[in-house]
């Protein structure tokens, strides 16, 4: 099937819609990252088996859909029943038969499987009434949870590739770039650079070859938006890339996917092959003289390859060492050719902007920060998951309304955004809007969209130490300030966390941080001290507690704490089994005791104790 005109595409869409309309019921099994980690595949197989065994009128195997991330990962695995709009949470394989019998066959809702509002304790029947969803606006994630992963039919059914058809057959490259520029779309990878301006610069470079690269090297720990898009809606990324390629005059494109995402590679590859089959990739697209094809490159486990020049080196099969930014990659990028590099989410936004126009897009979000941003809301928050909100939404709204507040109702302490380049923001900034400029002003960063919520049991010194140790092992090692500077900064953070530091060590750390920021070659080093700087800025007392009182108020830093079992212990032996160091002894149903000489303060016992019987002192 080769589509050669926009009309053919429309006809095809109609055909797929008609086919879909015939489905009386749809059983949607979420295959997002969270659900996959909770056994979604088993649920899907179970549905397949039960459905093929039972004969239900109008419900065939076609009713069964495997979609991308629904977002509410906390309650994974998720199953939705359409068109009723029912969302079942924490589904287990043994419940599948029940769901088919009751809900699919007889439209009967199973209350125990419904989402329970943490405040009202009420079960919510309709998907859209769950607060987690009602506060969101989905653009980049528009198709997740609605269409089959890597299925071009389903994608075309919901209007896929229409924007691309419009761009190629009705618009000039200049008009496209103009539209994207006017939309105010800024790089969703975290840099926040104007996408339209990037394209315009690239187009202007006179060269016989231009490249388009999609950065799918989502390296920030705690972020998985791009993974969800690449796995759940790969065609949106392709469509965005094709439009970009047409706009800048590129004939080849690359998608660089980090190696930790094998499923993303599989689904993108399927999508590419489907698009080629339909004539949407390859020679003379839509009968024009525009030709474009895409190749996937898998990363090999290097955070620094998220940096553009390092990524391009890696695509070329080399070591991912960044080069100095004085020569911009948009002018001299992959193989020294002008190259547009955008992030997955940025590309996923492009078709919608072309389809609905810049004006519509600027109507969403905040001034100079138009549109939405996807976040992975994780950490000590109740509703962990994948969300998308208009720019400018406050942190409070995200954490409390969508996230449902903190686990066990513990006090909020900080929220970390921007990954290892970002920072930790305290409760005093909960009402500040989430957009590129506000976050930077607050000493953090938008980053690619990880949002990690921390409660009072999270130690900020430990968090800074964590990020520094991450960066020390991920630094490419080329330049001195990053390789040696971050290493020394890490060593100093360890000193603080172990209670060996003195007050002037903090100043030393701050001074060193300033020099690392000025001196480093690439963004990794230049933003490396941010997690330390932001925590010391907002949580200085906590650092001082470690230094002066030799105490870790959050009860995390091992050298400064010890554990004791209190009288709530009912002798369940859970902690004894969890302790890897045999430091806990006691008989069943008798209070246990911790041998302080053997205890390593790892805290495993605390995590398994259901009686709150272990105190951190």
């Amino acid at each position: 099937m080769q589509i050669s005109t926009p009309k053919q595409l429309k006809e095809l869409q109609q055909k797929f819609q008609d086919k879909d309309n015939k489905l009386v019921k749809k059983i949607i099994v979420c295959h997002g990252p969270g659900c996959l980690a909770s056994g979604a595949e088993k649920i899907f197989e179970e549905f397949q088996q039960v459905l093929s065994k039972k004969k239900i009128k109008g419900v065939t195997l076609e009713a069964l859909k495997k979609t991308g991330c629904h977002g509410l990962c906390e309650k994974a695995p998720l199953v939705a029943i359409e068109p009723a709009g029912i969302l079942y949470t924490r589904v287990k394989p043994r419940l599948v038969e029940d769901i088919i019998e009751k809900t699919v066959k007889n439209d009967e809702v199973i209350p125990e499987l419904l989402y329970q509002d943490p405040e009202t304790k009420k079960r919510v029947e309709k998907y859209r009434d769950i607060k987690f969803y009602s506060h969101q606006t989905r653009i980049a994630l528009r198709n997740l949870g609605h269409i089959n992963t890597a299925d071009i039919e389903d994608f075309i059914r919901v209007g896929g590739y229409q924007a691309m058809a419009k761009a190629i057959t009705k618009m000039t490259p200049e008009r496209i770039i103009d539209e994207v520029t006017k939309s105010g779309l800024r790089g969703r990878g975290g840099g926040g650079f104007s996408t339209g301006r990037k394209w315009a610069t690239c187009r202007k470079v006179k060269d016989d070859t231009h490249y388009v690269i999609c950065n799918g090297d989502e390296g920030d720990p705690g972020a998985f938006m791009d993974r969800a898009i690449m796995e759940g809606d790969p065609h949106s990324v392709l469509e965005g890339m094709i439009i970009a390629a047409f706009a800048v005059g590129a004939r080849s494109g690359y998608i660089y996917v980090r190696e930790e995402y094998p499923l993303a590679v599989v689904n993108l590859q399927i999508a590419i092959e489907q698009a080629r089959e339909y004539g949407l990739l390859g020679e003379s697209i839509f009968g024009t003289d525009f030709s474009f094809d895409i190749q996937i490159n898998r990363g090999a486990g290097a955070f620094v390859c998220g940096e553009s020049s390092a990524l391009m080196k890696s695509v070329a099969g080399e070591v991912g060492e960044p080069r100095a930014k004085y020569i911009r990659s948009v002018v001299k990028g992959l193989y020294d050719k002008p190259t547009v590099l955008n992030n997955v989410e940025t590309f996923a936004n492009v078709p919608v902007i072309i389809d609905r126009g810049a004006k519509w897009f600027t109507g969403i979000g905040a001034p100079k920060n138009s549109g939405t941003k996807a976040f992975s809301l994780v950490g000590k928050v109740r509703n962990t998951g994948l969300i998308e909100v208009p720019m400018g939404t406050s942190l409070r709204e995200i954490i409390y309304d969508i996230g449902g507040g903190l686990i066990d109702g513990r006090p909020f302490k900080a929220v970390q955004t921007g990954g290892p380049s970002g920072g930790c923001l305290p409760d005093s900034l909960l009402d500040s809007p989430v957009d590129f400029d506000s976050l930077t002003k607050a000493g953090s960063m938008m980053g690619s969209g990880g949002m990690i919520v921390m409660d009072d049991r999270t130690c900020m010194v430990d968090v800074a130490k964590y990020f520094l140790s991450f960066l020390v092992s991920e630094s490419c090692g080329k330049c001195n300030p990053c390789r040696e500077g971050l290493y020394q900064l890490y060593k100093l953070a360890v000193k603080v966390s172990e209670g060996r530091a003195e007050e002037d060590d903090l100043e030393k750390m701050e001074k060193l941080s300033d020099m690392i920021i000025i001196g480093s070659l690439c963004g990794l080093g230049k933003s490396g001290p941010n997690p330390f700087l932001s925590t010391v800025r907002y949580f200085r007392e906590e650092y001082l507690a470690h230094i002066k009182e030799k105490k870790c108020p959050a009860g995390v830093c091992r050298e400064l704490i010890r554990f004791e079992i209190n009288d709530k212990c009912d002798g369940c032996t859970a902690c004894i089994l969890a302790c890897a160091y045999n430091a806990i002894t006691g008989k069943k149903k008798e209070p246990h005791v911790i041998n302080q000489d053997l205890c390593t303060h790892c805290g495993a016992c605390v995590t398994v104790c259901t009686r709150n019987a272990i105190d951190v002192i």
Partner: protein
């Protein structure tokens, strides 16, 4: 046991003979052998006409590559931010304790390798452990023994 590297030329042939194929070829070799045998590195260097030093540089720069044989089951403990604040360090230590190896090492019986990974992108289910290609979410310290058992 002598290593059979006769499959290497076929792996190389699946890719264009140019320097930019290097990482992809190494990935495929690793997939086949579970690590990068040195003879395979030499063959790759020769076939792509890339200096051996560059091949070695790439093979040691990226985390995904191992120059030592790895165990049947590769246990990867996610130590991403979300996992960290939900206790991945304990999980890692539990594995270290039960398997008596450190990250990057393999048990002498070649059954298990332990690795830590920056983030596997399943942050909502923190802490997460991957055993070969399978994900395990919300892992608790007392589940480790069982995980090591089944994997």
């Amino acid at each position: 046991m002598k290593l059979d590297i006769t499959k290497v030329p076929a792996i190389i042939d699946r890719h264009p003979r140019k320097a930019s194929s290097l990482i992809m070829i190494l990935q495929d070799i690793q997939k086949e052998y579970n690590y990068l045998p040195s003879e395979a590195l030499h063959k790759t260097a020769e076939a792509l006409d890339v200096p051996m030093s560059k091949v070695y540089s790439v093979a040691t720069f990226y985390n995904a590559f191992s120059l030592k044989p790895r165990g049947e089951k590769v246990i990867r403990v996610c130590v991403g931010t979300a996992c960290h604040i939900r206790g991945s360090r304990q999980i890692q230590e539990q594995f270290e304790h039960h398997l008596k190896i450190k990250p990057g090492e393999t048990t002498p019986d070649m059954k298990y390798s332990l690795e830590v990974v920056g983030c596997v992108g399943a942050c909502a289910m923190a802490p997460v452990v991957m055993i070969n290609d399978k994900y395990y979410g919300t892992v608790k310290a007392n589940r480790i023994k069982q995980l090591v058992g089944k994997g």
